[in-house]
Symmetry: C2
Subunit: 156 residues, 2 copies
């Protein structure tokens, strides 16, 4: 992408997008939780051709039509996210901290060796709640800590 | 503004802004109606420092805090609008037609000499309803036509 396109995408994401990482209970994962990072662009379904244009430019992510008339372009895989973050972070104003934090999390995630490491990672993810003014999250590091202790994976 | 900033502003406006022209009843105006053009940027009040940053970069418009927790940056004067349209139109994707139409209206407006000219202008403004997927407007060219005829300003 050229700098003007990167800057445009950053503006669009700042205006009407989201950068977040969530913790999701998933028993097929080692510690019982999946780390789910997403960059999402939103728009009215009436503008689906525009969203396809964005997707074509980014060459990553998939489109999803919600039942409430919103179309979402979601990027969720590690490689695409790391690429996109590096491309647009210099141009982001509103969501620069979220982009940097997501990058830290994606990089830290690779080095998780123990339940303690995993819990540290979850603590980093907690910060998204404040950064994005989200409602209080059910699945946060406190919740993970309880489960890890209960399962005997973490010494109390 | 440099090209990257123009492109960023265009992306932000495409994502979370509005370009529109409205017809408002106003008896202090020659034909009984005011033409009200606006470019508006929206954001949560939590991001008011960001909105002040945008205003500082644009050097036009004024900020208004709404009661529903939204802060608006509104540009409404002819000179600022014409400047902003010329700066960002090449970078707009979603709202390029609205920007071009607003420019046409602002330029045509200066040449309105008769009630017939004014009605033609109002017909151009009607197009915003479709472009912006607005709800049906009460004050459209049909309404203006009725009033102008009633006032004897337009020969039936």
């Amino acid at each position: 992408m050229n700098n003007e396109l990167k800057s445009y995408i950053a503006g669009f994401l700042d205006g009407d997008g989201s950068i977040h990482v969530r913790i999701k209970p998933n028993l097929t994962y080692k510690y019982g939780f999946q780390i789910s990072p997403n960059i999402v662009f939103y728009q009215s379904m009436k503008e689906s051709s525009y969203m396809r244009w964005i997707q074509k430019k980014l060459k990553v992510g998939y489109l999803r039509e919600r039942k409430d008339g919103i179309i979402e372009l979601t990027i969720g895989d590690r490689k695409s996210l790391l690429w996109l973050i590096d491309e647009i972070t210099p141009y982001l104003k509103l969501k620069k901290s979220q982009a940097k934090l997501m990058k830290t999390i994606l990089l830290t995630q690779k080095d998780v060796k123990t339940a303690k490491d995993f819990l540290q990672l979850c603590k980093k993810i907690d910060s998204f709640e404040k950064l994005n003014y989200s409602k209080k999250r059910k699945y946060n590091s406190l919740y993970v800590e309880k489960i890890l202790k209960k399962e005997g994976l973490l010494t109390p």
